[in-house]
């Protein structure tokens, strides 16, 4: 790509709207205004951030949900122009003195769940957006032709520009935007881009890519807001890229109330990471792939569409393999100052398939979820195939979790005889066929062939396979790993009732960022009663939600441990780190808070999001149902693979002697027991959360949380019966 090519692209732009604004300074973590862009009207406006927004919604996901709530009605569809994409960081976002403080939160109405989705992502966009003058970017409407929205935080100018010549795929447009908007090499690090790709134009499982410029590699790098199809919404609005530029000093631009206070806790945790990461999770050398071996050892790694929890070939895709492929010695954080530095990349990878075959590229990742979802769950244990899938998912703008879990579902349907080569266009979609999985991915990129059907996601596929191919609806309901329309992320939950709840009760659908309780429950046996599980399903989702209000990554909370953590009363909560975050919030905003206040901040947003689901026609108990594959063995093969465990449980928990019973009889008895357990768990959790038995926050709960706005109460009263 030459300078001449970039100039030609820029000259082809037609400026559709221009908005000049006064540059300001961030005050104690807030820019105090949000940017509204409407692509139907070519309107651009500034909206104030009120004290009420800060008090009730804090920032990040909270601001996003509040803005989206007012932008849409209960009838808004994902591809209506009135749907919005809202991107926001949070008051702590942009801090460089504490690790993991650069996250953005994105919300929209999802193409697969048809309700509100939230997704968190690294990269520089959120912090640079704030430093450019905006606590959130709110995009509504739909352009006539492809556009770029450019926010120039140096000049105080926002433009909507028709952009016909640029690429759509992320690895190309990411570089094009850097070359186009940076005047010098030095300025490249001041640019961040949000983009999707050609896959997001055809599939409902589109993701967003958020960039940062890697000064050592001299290349754009990418993190993903993967869940819920927001990339599909981006391309539906005909947005090729959102670009922000900010060239000021970034180390101090968040203007905290008390810089010394945050430096103190930052110094402590940075020292902890320096001293202990190498003997704990090794995030700096390996990153999240360290989890693959552990999940396999504990029988929690999804294998063959979550049928099993381990596989003899898992050793081909464990952390030690990736450590050798990742370039080492390059500190690799997705925001400045992050010492956890868990982003990793494979440099110099030569693509073997697809439209970019033969190109040498950087592959960002893979992360654990991609390895498990596109790897073990599909029976694929070839690292090169996973690199290929990872790269193309990213550049096409497709969520690797939804791609992997959807492909695993299709593979099981193929092996069960629901699909055949005639239906799949010749693809032999057996578990382990990496070439077929890659071809599906390229078909999604082109919007052609059977891949275009797989790109609709599992919920839609179950319907299609029943109506058009005679698939057994009950069988597909049992094995289709989706809930609320969102594909499951990559942990086997059959033996952890608490984690079944963690997935089933999550507002957006089965994404583990709300709760990850498998070890506390299944391995440590720390949650023996329903009340214990309900308490954990209150605390941990609230705690983990808090990161998304503030612009924080949760990995520095618990992927590193102080040496004396074991001596504390509740080591699973990492109390010293919780106190760090109390200090961080108080130090940035100037508001003195306690750790209980942080939970209250989350409770407000969490319950508001539950009511938002209700507004969109969901949000009640029936929508918290989960597929039986996430609860227990669906097939005889699954039961017999762990027969000793299940027979013992039948005896001890159900009071049934397995002797003389057929496997089918035993499975039916176990199923009845486990499904009842899930219902009892939901009862306990709803009670703990202040919800009705049908899962609706009560008016009293809304009032206690100060979210009893008239239109919120109206939605609840209409549904509460």
């Amino acid at each position: 790509m030459s300078t001449k090519d970039i100039q030609k692209m820029r000259q082809a732009h037609k400026v559709l709207a221009e908005f000049d604004y006064e540059l300001g300074e961030v005050e104690k973590g807030y820019a105090n205004r949000t940017l509204y862009v409407n692509l139907s009207d070519n309107a651009i406006a500034s909206k104030p951030v009120t004290q009420q927004m800060k008090d009730v919604f804090t920032g990040g996901r909270g601001f996003g949900l509040w803005l989206l709530w007012h932008g849409v009605t209960g009838d808004t569809k994902w591809n209506d122009p009135e749907n919005e994409i809202v991107i926001s960081s949070g008051p702590i976002g942009g801090t460089t003195q504490y690790p993991g403080a650069g996250k953005s939160l994105v919300v929209s109405i999802s193409p697969t769940t048809h309700s509100v989705i939230d997704s968190n992502v690294g990269g520089h966009f959120g912090p640079l957006l704030k430093f450019a003058g905006w606590d959130a970017l709110e995009i509504q409407g739909q352009a006539e032709k492809d556009v770029i929205v450019f926010i120039d935080g140096n000049e105080g100018k926002v433009t909507i520009e028709e952009a016909t010549e640029e690429a759509v795929d992320t690895h190309l447009i990411g570089e094009q935007m850097v070359e186009m908007f940076a005047q010098t090499d030095r300025e490249k690090r001041d640019i961040s881009t949000v983009s999707a790709g050609s896959g997001a134009e055809h599939a409902l499982i589109g993701c967003l890519n958020f960039s940062w410029y890697d000064v050592r590699r001299k290349s754009a790098r990418f993190k993903q807001a993967g869940r819920g199809g927001i990339g599909t919404v981006l391309r539906d609005k005909k947005i090729k890229a959102l670009v922000v530029k900010y060239g000021g000093g970034k180390g101090t631009a968040n203007n905290p109330a008390d810089r010394e206070r945050i430096s103190k806790v930052g110094t402590r945790i940075n020292q902890e990471i320096h001293d202990y990461d190498a003997v704990q999770n090794r995030m700096r050398n390996v990153g999240t792939p360290y989890l693959v071996k552990i999940m396999d050892d504990y029988d929690l790694l999804p294998v063959h569409n979550f049928k099993f929890g381990s596989h003899p070939q898992a050793g081909k895709i464990t952390g030690d393999v990736w450590e050798k492929r990742f370039t080492q010695g390059l500190p690799d954080g997705c925001w400045l100052g992050c010492t956890m530095s868990c982003s990793h990349a494979v440099d110099g990878y030569v693509l073997q398939t697809g439209p970019y075959k033969g190109q040498t590229v950087i592959v960002d990742g893979p992360e654990y979820e991609t390895i498990a979802g596109c790897g073990s769950s599909c029976g694929i244990f070839d690292p090169d195939a996973l690199l290929e899938i990872n790269f193309y998912c990213d550049t096409y703008g497709l969520d690797t979790i939804s791609f992997g879990t959807s492909t695993a579902f299709v593979m099981e349907c193929y092996e069960a005889g629901i699909l055949n080569r005639e239906i799949t266009g010749g693809l032999e979609l057996n578990f382990g066929n990496a070439d077929a999985a890659l071809e599906l991915l390229h078909q999604m990129g082109r919007g052609k062939g059977f891949g275009a059907i797989v790109g609709q996601g599992i919920r839609r596929m179950k319907q299609i396979f029943a109506e058009e191919y005679g698939g057994d609806p009950q069988f597909m309901q049992d094995i289709g790993m989706e809930a609320k329309g969102l594909e499951y992320s990559e942990y086997v939950t059959k033996e952890s009732l608490a984690q079944q709840g963690g997935y089933g009760l999550a507002s957006k659908g089965p994404q583990h960022d709300e709760a990850w309780l498998i070890f506390m429950d299944m391995v440590n046996n720390q949650l023996p009663t329903f009340e214990d599980k309900a308490e954990a399903l209150h605390y941990f989702p609230m705690w983990r939600t808090w990161f998304g209000l503030c612009g924080l990554c949760k990995l520095p909370w618990n992927d590193i441990s102080p040496p004396d953590n074991a001596e504390t009363d509740e080591p699973a909560k990492m109390p010293e780190h919780v106190q760090n975050y109390v200090e961080l919030f108080s130090g940035v905003t100037g508001r003195e808070v306690t750790k209980e206040d942080l939970i209250l901040m989350s409770e407000r947003v969490y319950n508001f999001q539950r009511v938002f689901n209700l507004k969109m026609g969901f949000g009640t108990r029936e929508h918290d149902a989960i597929p039986y594959r996430s609860v227990g063995p669906v097939t005889v093969e699954e039961y017999e693979s762990r027969a000793e465990r299940y027979d013992q449980q039948l005896q001890e928990l159900v009071g049934l002697d397995p002797e003389g019973k057929t496997t089918e009889e035993k499975m039916a008895a176990l199923r009845a027991y486990r499904e009842e357990q899930y219902e009892l768990l939901i009862d306990a959790v709803y009670k703990r959360r202040g919800w009705t038995p049908n899962g609706i926050p009560t008016p009293e709960t809304l009032k206690q949380l100060h979210i009893d706005f008239p239109d919120v109460v109206e939605v609840v009263k209409r549904n509460i019966g």
Partner: protein
């Protein structure tokens, strides 16, 4: 059997693991030298991470 042998035997490979024997936390550096005797009460806590 030493603590680290026990963990290896039951495939408790999680790196952030806390072990106590008879109520006393065993430092990681002593996993290889701390012996578990018959009837000892051993507790193993995995510090939740993941995801």
């Amino acid at each position: 059997m030493a603590v680290d042998s026990l963990l290896k035997t039951i495939k408790f490979t999680f790196p952030m693991i806390v072990v106590s024997v008879n109520g006393k936390v065993v430092p990681r550096s002593e996993f290889g030298t701390t012996t578990i005797e018959d009837n000892d009460e051993v507790k193993v806590l995995h510090l939740v991470a993941g995801g």
